[in-house]
Symmetry: C2
Subunit: 239 residues, 2 copies
């Protein structure tokens, strides 16, 4: 029944949502499947944009690297999300790299195929517009956060976003469902791993979070939301 489940998965992705089953069958027929183990690279920054994937199972990380070795995390991608939007929007090369952070199972199309599909199915083009609009807005938000907020707030926002995107209820609180180092959080919040570590330690002290090696559990969502909003009473130099 792999065929059936693939169709169901496609129907639930942000790109193929609402597309007629008949069309999905055609689209599925010209797709290919690919597995990546945790740590494997899907696209490398500046490579030609020759294909597009949707995540079926797993988790990917989109990053950008600067010549001097610094890196920022653009976003994480979970099931149903599109990896390689550049292939849709025409730019010749990938603006960043995409790596698997968990073992992942992707469904892919070549650049030509996906363009062909889009021009034949208006609904898919519309979905692409919605999807790109949402990402653009997400970036505007992050840019604003980075410009106007202090680190503690930014880290709080980053973690809240991650719980919204990949949160898993547990007895101790909401856990971010994939491995995540302090360095990763730093690269998402625009700070250093040291500052992230100090901040998490302070929060742990207050019982707001409960973290371990490559793991973050938010115990007190409300408290974290307050910190993110900047309304939390800031202890002078709490770090």
């Amino acid at each position: 029944m792999e065929y059936q489940t693939d169709l169901i998965i496609l129907e639930r992705t942000e790109l193929f949502r609402g597309v007629a089953v008949q069309a999905l069958r055609e689209i599925h027929a010209v797709s290919y499947r690919k597995r990546f183990s945790a740590g494997e690279i899907i696209f490398r920054q500046d490579d030609a944009a020759a294909s597009l994937y949707v995540v079926s199972v797993g988790r990917l990380r989109a990053t950008q690297t600067v010549p001097d070795g610094q890196q920022i995390i653009i976003r994480y991608l979970g099931p149903g999300e599109v990896a390689g939007y550049t292939t849709l929007s025409g730019a010749a090369t990938h603006p960043g790299s995409i790596t698997a952070v968990d073992d992942s199972y992707l469904i892919g199309w070549s650049a030509d195929t996906i363009k062909q599909i889009m021009s034949e199915h208006t609904a898919i083009a519309m979905n692409a517009i919605v999807l790109l609009g949402a990402r653009y807005r997400e970036m505007q938000l992050r840019l604003r956060e980075l410009s106007t907020e202090r680190v503690e707030q930014r880290i709080a926002h980053t973690i809240l976003r991650l719980t919204a995107q990949a949160g898993r209820r547990t007895v101790r609180g909401v856990e971010i469902a994939f491995p995540l180092t302090r360095q990763d959080l730093a690269e998402m919040s625009g700070t250093t791993l040291h500052t992230v570590s100090r901040t998490l330690s302070a929060w742990e002290e207050e019982g707001i979070v409960d973290c371990g090696r490559r793991r973050v559990i938010v115990a007190e969502m409300d408290a974290l939301t307050l910190i993110a909003a900047g309304t939390s009473p800031r202890l002078p130099n709490r770090l």
Copy 2:
């Protein structure tokens, strides 16, 4: 001949590029024209996204404001660019405000009309995808700059981007073709007007720029490019 020129203008916009003349005529027929004087507000943050404009003449500024009054500039929009992409991509409200910084002449459509147009003309939907992709990439770039670069570099990048977008050759160098305060540059670079002022003064000292009230002229593009790249020898505490 206003009708003819409007068609030519539409044909040159990022959204209607490459669309058949017949279709452009229809699109033009359902559009409306609107003038805004410098300082007037086109969209207000959180207003319902009920229309979309393309800039025919003039210059707009897209901003986001935070409750405490701080503001950041998302981008400037010049002739041919789309204001109100949100209306395309389905979100209910505008994520930021758009203001005219010069007297401007816009061509507009209602949300329903533009969606109708898009679904009838695949080429336009494709243009929208290209346009949103480009903006998304621009935002990724700025996010990276803001995370990894120091202020001087960021200000340099901001000014370079502005000259690329709205630069005008003059005898003294490349001038940014619209009024721009130190505060504006600060809101684009993620810093304060004080730091921008100090930085510009230092550059003026070195003959790299030539600025005045609400005006910036880049005399030495190469020098500025070097600073932006971070390869320029940083005088310790040049500010």
